[in-house]
């Protein structure tokens, strides 16, 4: 029994260690203060071109295979990497009404791009936060 609880504890700890702590951010210059997971999913899946207040939005993504990307889409859109690829295959090859967000490598690059554009939105690890961006969703 003791070994079982030990095992459970290790499992719990490793699962925490494996998951990045993702937060969704906009520029500190943006007027947007809060988004729901559904609103964020719609923006990153190209279903919505605007913030809920009507302002235009430019999402910035992280590269395929990045743990933080998998974490973000699992939490916000309930999609794993294959489901996301299948989703975009469907969108791209049905007339290209929207295309996947631009990719930037790493939290720092995303934070800089988002900080510099009041229309941009991205997701980064909580550890990479600074005053140039504002958290609008903590999924």
């Amino acid at each position: 029994m003791k070994s079982l609880s030990c095992y459970c504890l290790i499992l719990l700890l490793t699962s925490f260690a494996a998951s990045a702590d993702v937060v969704v951010v906009v520029s500190a210059k943006s007027t947007v203060t809060h988004l729901t997971a559904e609103q964020a999913a719609r923006i990153f899946l190209g279903k919505s071109n605007t913030f809920p207040d009507g302002g235009n939005v430019v999402p910035v993504d992280q590269p395929e295979g990045a743990a933080i990307r998998d974490e973000f889409y699992a939490r916000v859109a309930s999609k794993n990497a294959s489901q996301l690829t299948a989703y975009w295959a469907r969108v791209i090859f049905t007339g290209g009404d929207s295309c996947p967000p631009k990719l930037l490598e790493g939290n720092a690059a995303v934070r800089r791009a988002v900080a510099g554009n009041p229309n941009a939105i991205g997701y980064i690890d909580r550890n990479a936060l600074d005053g140039s961006v504002r958290v609008v969703l903590d999924p």
Partner: protein
């Protein structure tokens, strides 16, 4: 191939005009895209998709085909047939300005003339008045049914192919003309409303069908994991027989469709119902579920199409017409999708096809006077899908 060359020239011209039109305009302000920004997309984008699939049918007296455009399939003509599910598609998208973009899609697949000659599936220019309102002109995809737009992109489908009993009833997939799309949100629900007008010509093994005054209105409603699609499409169609040289009468064809899907992540359910009317009236439906276990997605589908009834107001049908109009059949399918590597999947599927007691279903190339009414046959399919 000459057509493709013309389209490339057309693409370059559109790019030039679009750039000229943007000079001195501040469209970028409204669209929130600064051209020097790191968040903007590249101007040209090349994407591709493809499938390599084979079918085997236990019914050796006729061919099992997915579309009325196909001359041969699995069963009588060959033990294993690759024509139903194999294709290669390439797509070039040009984002010339925040308002102007264009798309060219070329597909190579098995077709009526028994070749895989590439054809232009789409070639259109899009002009966005606002981020939520746009018009397109050129060859445009038809959103007739829930999965009509992506029916050829195997990787985007949970199945080897969309359920045959329903998708087999309408072979046309694009329209030469215009469409307009308006996206709007009601609370957390998103509507995409589309209206379309155009024409289409399609080659079948022994005929060429032309559709004029093709129009339709379509609404897709998305609410969280739920999607609802409602569409109505109408056209005047005539068929030119390559055997007799006779042009058929112009007949009004209409397709009404309701489809719904629910996909919260670990599982999905999908349902669709359609009613199609020309000189005959028929309905078809399917319902399916799937469950995702890591990289595996087993699924099951039931589909059927009903017995055709003749619409009053036309000349009384001949006995032969009554027999050939009735394609009633039902199918139980079970399969599994395996996402075994990045951007590639493998699917295997088993179909049990039950012909109704008065029809040979959708089997083609049957010997004269063959009657398979009420019989059952089995189809096994395997496919590898990829996107790049």
């Amino acid at each position: 191939m000459n057509t493709i060359f013309k389209l490339v020239v057309f693409f370059v011209l559109v790019a030039g005009i679009a750039n000229a039109a943007e000079l001195g305009q501040s469209a970028s302000a409204e669209f929130g895209a600064e051209n020097t920004d790191k968040t903007t997309q590249p101007m040209f984008k090349f994407d591709g998709f493809g499938s390599l699939g084979v079918n085997h049918s236990s019914q050796r007296l006729g061919d099992y085909v997915l579309d009325s455009t196909l001359p041969k399939g699995a069963g009588r003509s060959s033990d294993w047939a690759a024509g139903n599910d194999s294709r290669l598609g390439a797509q070039l998208t040009g984002n010339f300005s925040p308002r102007v973009s264009a798309v060219l899609q070329v597909i190579s697949e098995y077709q009526a003339d028994n070749t895989y000659t590439p054809v232009v599936e789409w070639a259109n220019v899009k002009y966005a008045f606002t981020p939520n309102v746009h018009v397109r002109a050129g060859r445009i995809v038809l959103p007739t049914f829930l999965n009509s737009e992506n029916r050829k992109v195997g990787y985007s489908l949970p199945w080897v192919h969309p359920p045959v009993d329903l998708y087999r009833v309408l072979a046309i997939t694009n329209s030469d003309g215009i469409d307009a799309t308006y996206s709007f949100e009601v609370g957390e629900a998103a509507h995409t409303l589309k209206a379309l007008y155009g024409s289409n010509t399609i080659d079948r093994p022994t005929s060429i069908s032309t559709s004029h005054n093709l129009w339709g209105v379509f609404d897709t409603l998305e609410y969280g994991p739920a999607t609802l699609h409602v569409g109505y499409q109408e056209r005047m169609a005539s068929s030119h027989s390559l055997l007799t040289g006779i042009d058929g009468a112009w007949i009004k064809n209409s397709d009404l469709s309701i489809g719904a899907s629910y996909d919260p992540g670990n599982w999905f359910a999908i349902y669709q119902w359609i009613q199609r009317q020309s000189t005959t009236n028929l309905t078809a439906m399917y319902a399916g579920v799937g469950y995702r276990i890591n990289k595996f997605t087993p699924y099951m589908t039931y589909s059927n199409n009903g017995r055709s009834s003749f619409v009053p107001g036309f000349a009384a049908p001949t006995a032969a017409a009554i027999v050939s109009a009735n394609k009633s059949q039902s199918t139980v399918s079970a399969g599994v999708r395996w996402d075994f590597m990045k951007n590639v999947d493998l699917k295997v599927q088993y179909d049990r096809v039950q012909l109704s007691d008065s029809s040979n279903g959708y089997l083609i190339n049957l010997p004269v006077n063959t009657v398979l009414y009420g019989t059952t046959f089995h189809v096994i399919s395997a496919i590898v899908d990829f996107v790049f």
